[in-house]
């Protein structure tokens, strides 16, 4: 059977399915992304402020937030007066 170019993902999906771990991982990332984006809609925040607001660990916030910076969803703002923490804001 000829498989149409541009629709080969469906072919592999039908053939071997999608691992549950991949689906769970996507769900978790989307949940955290939404939480961070919603929080930053209100105001710019540093990582400790975000962790406090979202009740998440600081390392998890650091990882996900800086990943969102890489993906172009979030931008780096100013550093605080103590030159310790940057603030982060949504990309308009």
């Amino acid at each position: 059977m000829e498989i149409e170019i541009g629709k080969t993902a469906k072919y592999l999906r039908d053939k071997q399915g999608v691992p549950d771990s991949a689906k769970e991982q996507l769900k978790e990332f989307n949940r955290i992304k939404k939480a961070i984006v919603d929080a930053l809609k209100e105001q710019e925040m540093t990582i400790p402020q975000l962790a406090d607001k979202l009740q998440m660990s600081k390392p998890d916030v650091t990882y996900h937030l800086l990943t969102l910076v890489k993906y172009g969803v979030v931008a780096v703002g100013e550093i605080d007066d103590m030159d310790e923490y940057f603030s982060y804001k949504l990309v308009k």
Partner: protein, 434 residues
């Protein structure tokens, strides 16, 4: 049983790091046809991921990228990425038969323009192994910005097969029907450039790696100071703070019988000093302390480099770290024996970098018929004639290049690759003239 394509080359080079690449170029420039097999998605090995090199502080990418570009475009070199040599049998002198499996990339490299639209469309995010887990990447991704081939790859284990990448791809080069390809290679000589493994600091729980997020490895710091860094500046992975008191723990997993690695890595003193100097440039107000057992500045220009680091204000403490603990604010307490004073002390730092050592990659030992390739007691490839012909292995016609035979720095790896390729050319010439 899978169908195998029969292919023939003069030489098989396993590993496309700096040593394997150099050996392949030397053979190819002499007119021999070379198959270069690499298990990763890109040429360049570990070197292409470095920031700068010691003791010259030259940009590592500026040295590596022209080299990998030459390899990729050389008419006498064929590159197999995502590929592994699973078995090699020596049928006779000058006749090696290798079984190779080439995993699917799910992207037709020749059609990919590296536009990254697939990456943008992909909804999946997983830890980026090329940034040593400091940040995420997509399941459809370009490994890193100077990767060669610079083409997308699909991480099929984490892909949800949603098809978004295919829809976004303007050249229709994404192809999920690709399957593993199997080859039977006939070659006249083999060069092993399988490199080394970095010591895994999880083997030393008292240093807290994995548990305390502001304890990182030297490769993670290497990424933080590289031009293609994961963050906008140097940050603590534990809370995004800009650190101003950074400690280096030298000999992590080197010269340590308790972790089964009694030898010196030959590189951790110097790369730590290199990173310390780069950090002082990036964070001018930061205090950098290097805890060491002995400084081994044995190479050309190394002692001057050490003195330069001291002159810049890097603090050197002759001390052996016993334990690292974390404070509530993420700072780290280093409990150490001050060797000079003979007393136990404690010091607080924002961030700790473990200067991890070098371990063998024993994988090559398993692929030869009847375990005929001999390894040394630390599982590096044994050199049959260390002083006379250091590239010779226990199998005539099989040569070793770079850190596959033991820890060494980049210039020594390149020299070793020159030796291996010269020996291989000599071997090929010997049988050509018969």
């Amino acid at each position: 049983m899978e169908e195998r394509k029969i292919i023939k080359y003069d030489a098989l080079v396993i590993g496309a790091g700096i040593a394997g690449g150099e050996a392949a170029i030397n053979l190819a420039n002499t007119g021999y046809k070379v198959l270069l097999v690499e298990k990763d998605h890109s040429l360049g090995g570990k070197m292409i991921l470095l920031s700068k090199v010691f003791p010259t502080l030259d940009c590592a990418a500026c040295i590596t990228t022209p080299k990998v570009s030459e390899i990729a475009r050389h008419k006498n070199i064929t590159v197999f990425t995502e590929s592994e040599v699973t078995h090699i049998a020596k049928k006779s002198d000058n006749d090696f038969v290798a079984q190779i499996s080439k995993k699917p990339r799910y992207v037709r490299v020749e059609g990919c323009t590296a536009c990254q639209l697939c990456e943008k469309a992909c909804p999946v995010s997983v830890r980026d192994e090329y940034q040593f887990g400091l940040i995420g990447r997509k399941a459809a991704f370009i490994p890193f910005s100077i990767a060669n081939p610079k083409a997308a790859v699909i991480d099929i284990e984490n892909c949800t097969l949603c098809g978004a990448c295919e829809k976004a791809c303007p050249t229709h080069c994404i192809d999920f029907t690709m399957e593993t390809e199997y080859y039977e290679l006939h070659a006249k000589t083999v060069i092993l450039a399988t490199g080394f493994n970095l010591f895994d600091p999880l083997e030393i729980p008292r240093f807290g790696y994995g548990q305390y997020k502001n304890v990182i490895t030297s490769m993670q710091m290497e990424r933080e100071i590289a031009p293609t860094r994961p963050y906008n500046t140097i940050l603590r992975p534990g809370d995004g703070k800009v650190p101003d008191r950074i400690a280096y723990v030298l000999c992590t997993g080197s010269r340590d019988n308790t972790v089964g690695n009694p030898i010196c890595s030959q590189i951790c003193c110097m790369y730590s000093m290199k990173q310390a100097q780069l950090l002082m440039g990036a964070l001018p107000m930061a205090d950098i302390t290097i805890y060491y057992i002995n400084i081994r500045s044995f190479g050309k220009g190394f002692e001057e480099f050490y003195q330069q680091a001291k002159g810049m204000g890097v603090n050197f403490v002759k001390g052996k770290i016993g334990k690292i603990t974390e404070k509530e604010n993420g700072n780290l307490i280093l409990r150490y024996e001050d060797i000079a004073e003979g007393v136990v002390k404690e010091a607080e730092h924002d961030m700790v970098v473990l200067s991890v050592g070098v371990k063998s990659n024993p994988s090559a030992g398993k692929i030869f018929d009847g375990n005929s390739l001999k390894l040394d007691p630390l599982q590096f490839i044994a050199q049959k004639d260390l002083l006379g012909s250091p590239a010779k292995t226990s199998i005539d016609g099989v040569f070793v290049a770079g850190t596959a035979s033991g820890p060494m720095d980049i210039p020594d790896s390149i020299l070793s690759a020159g030796s291996a390729s010269s020996e291989a050319i000599s071997y090929l010439t010997r049988y050509q003239s018969v």
